[in-house]
Amino acid sequence: MSEPSRTHASLLPSVAAVLAGAVYMVFFLAGESQMVVFGLLVGAVLALAAFKHWRVLDAVGQSARDHQGPFSIVVVAAVAAVCLYFYDDAFVLFLLGTVLVYVLTCLGLNIQFGFVGVMNFAGASFFGVGCYTAAVLTKHTALPHLLIIVLGGLLAALLGFVILIPVLKTRGHYAALVTIAFALLFKTFLEVNDTLGGPQGLKAAGLNLFGWDVGRDIAIGDFEGSFYLGYIAVILLLAILGFIMARRMEDSWIGLNMDAVRLDETVSACFGQSIPRWKITAFTIGNFYCGVAGAFYAMMLGYIAPTNFTFGDSLILLSIVILGGLGSLWGTVVATGIVIIIPEKFQVLQEYRFLLFSALVIAILLFRPQGLLPRPLRGYRTLKSLPGKS
């Protein structure tokens, strides 16, 4: 169990699971009537319960952990395949793009909350900084859009420095207050600030990469697809990059240092850890993720308004992190999918989504605090596979 089995056969359970998931997603996303969607949802829950009972899920998890590289590639291929299946369905593609945007955002929050233990109740605010950066810069400057996306991240990280000192100096509830106050302050600020469009918000230009106008429908030979395919390609790359960086961080001394700071500051200090250093690192990187995701989202959506950056939205982001499992990167991916897609497919639920997710998080915290996909122990697996002299 401690050494990964290198046989090809042991890869099968995880690949089969991903394929099954992809096929399921196609049916779920294509489902038109509410009855079909509901039936599929109930079916999924029952199937998962049965698989858990027969220990199929354990086998899948083991297989995925033993073959992280191939497993990740299969997942990406499956996501790409699902997107291509819906090549001309703008609604589904926009939904999938949104999921990827939130995956990137929540990975950032997971680095903060799951790794180093800084609970950020202003995630939507830092996301909003990225959005507004993109809206303002695409309108008033001719900067390359890729640079604007990076700038969105940098500005979010920079704004994080404003509340850095109180975040570092306080603990527990007092620290929570700082980000809560900041989130409320930020939204009020946006609403009353006329330069930034007030409650109406701003328009943002579509993404343009090196002359490729991503906002135009795609036509290659006989193939004609929605322009959202282009956006998905970009955000998929960003999310993969974000995931790899978070994964590398986890499987390194930095991940260990952050865990130590989260679990016991006194012990960490007695073994030389600088507590502010790791909190600043995680907080800044997390906000950078949020800002990058926000800048991209503004370009994909085309307009932004303060109502997207409320305290309630920040809570949804944190709910995703908790639902997936603190510090669990794959958990964040799965939980984002659940939290974003289900209410969109269920127009009845749309109205009730805040209520349902709040109730769901209460239940998770009471009965399964480790989340849907609990974070595995650090095994330095990404390091073990690397060649090198010892």
Binding site: T170, G172, H173, Y174, A181, F182, L184, T188, L355, L366
Partner: protein
């Protein structure tokens, strides 16, 4: 600015300060007995206001026409109902999580707040829209120059201050208050001394929640409007006030409440071109204050046992 306007602003600031203090006292009481933050506190206030509103509608429906009597009944029923709800929440959600990381309780109650808020929006008749709350107190007033003192405002301020004094007396002078303080000091010892820990927690949560309902009734009498999300900001302000004053300290909560109202007034006065920035200003100052005094103005310095 003339004297009349300043006086008007002062009455306004006092009223808000009073409401914030009442909410903050609840936060600090809960923190005292259990070291938890119950973030749904603001939404308990909303529930209090909506209970009051429903009772008012019911009473007018059966033909009761004496406004002051209606008000007394409305306030008492709201306080009793919300007090009971507070104790029930303590029993079901707060006490079972006693051993969990403290931030879990904060998160759970944040989510509970959303549940409370959303249930009003979704299930109360026409809950998504603001509603008008009638003036139930006589509209007598007296003018000095530009300044008009309204009788109902004076009465509300007075009742509110009396309520704070009353809570203070209960905490300082009664056996119940002694039990609450004992539990705050040291739960283990309090248990050994024969204090029924759970009962003290229930009662504390009932008192704190009833105070929120009371604050809500004052708020809605003052502004004559209620809506499903009014509690979110009031809760956040009460939380800020309790934190700035120092959690667990009742005087701190009162000071914090009035301080926040003062900051808003200063913000509105100092930025007359953009009085909408007053909350931005007030929360900004709160963040700075927390950076300077990480455990509040009157809070004790935390020391960790190693």
């Amino acid at each position: 600015m003339d004297i009349g306007l300043i006086a008007q602003q002062t009455v306004n600031g006092l009223m808000l300060g009073l409401i914030y203090s009442l909410v903050a006292v609840g936060f600090t009481l809960f923190f005292g007995v259990l070291d938890v933050i119950k973030f749904s506190h603001g939404d308990m206030l909303t529930w209090g206001v909506f209970t009051a509103f429903s009772v008012y509608l019911g009473l007018t429906l059966i033909g009761l026409a004496a406004p002051v009597l209606i008000l007394v009944i409305v306030a008492l029923v709201a306080m009793a109902a919300i007090g009971f709800l507070g104790a029930a929440i303590a029993k079901v959600l707060i006490i079972p999580l006693k051993g969990a990381p403290p931030l879990n309780t904060l998160l759970i109650t944040l989510m509970l707040g959303t549940v409370l808020r959303e249930s009003i929006r979704l299930f109360y008749p026409d809950g998504a829209n603001p509603k008008h709350f009638p003036a139930l107190l006589p509209d007598w007033s007296h003018s000095w120059g530009h300044f008009t003192l309204r009788f109902d405002n004076a009465l509300m301020l007075l009742t509110g201050l009396l309520m704070i004094v009353l809570v203070q007396l209960v905490i300082k002078r009664t056996k119940l208050g002694m039990a609450i303080r004992a539990v705050s000091q040291d739960e283990e010892t309090a248990r050994v001394m024969g204090i029924n820990f759970n009962l003290v927690v229930y009662v504390t949560f009932a008192i704190g929640s009833a105070l929120a309902a009371f604050a809500g009734v004052i708020y809605v009498l003052y502004y004559n409007e209620l809506s499903f999300n009014m509690g979110l900001l009031l809760g956040a302000i009460g939380f800020s006030a309790a934190a700035v004053g120092g959690f667990g300290n009742i005087y701190g909560a009162i000071v914090g409440g009035f301080l926040f109202a003062m900051l808003q007034s200063i913000g509105a006065a100092a930025l007359p071109f953009a009085s909408a920035y007053k909350d931005v200003f007030a929360f900004g100052v709160v963040i700075v204050l927390i950076a300077v005094k990480p455990t509040g103005i009157l809070g004790e310095k935390e020391t960790e046992r190693v």
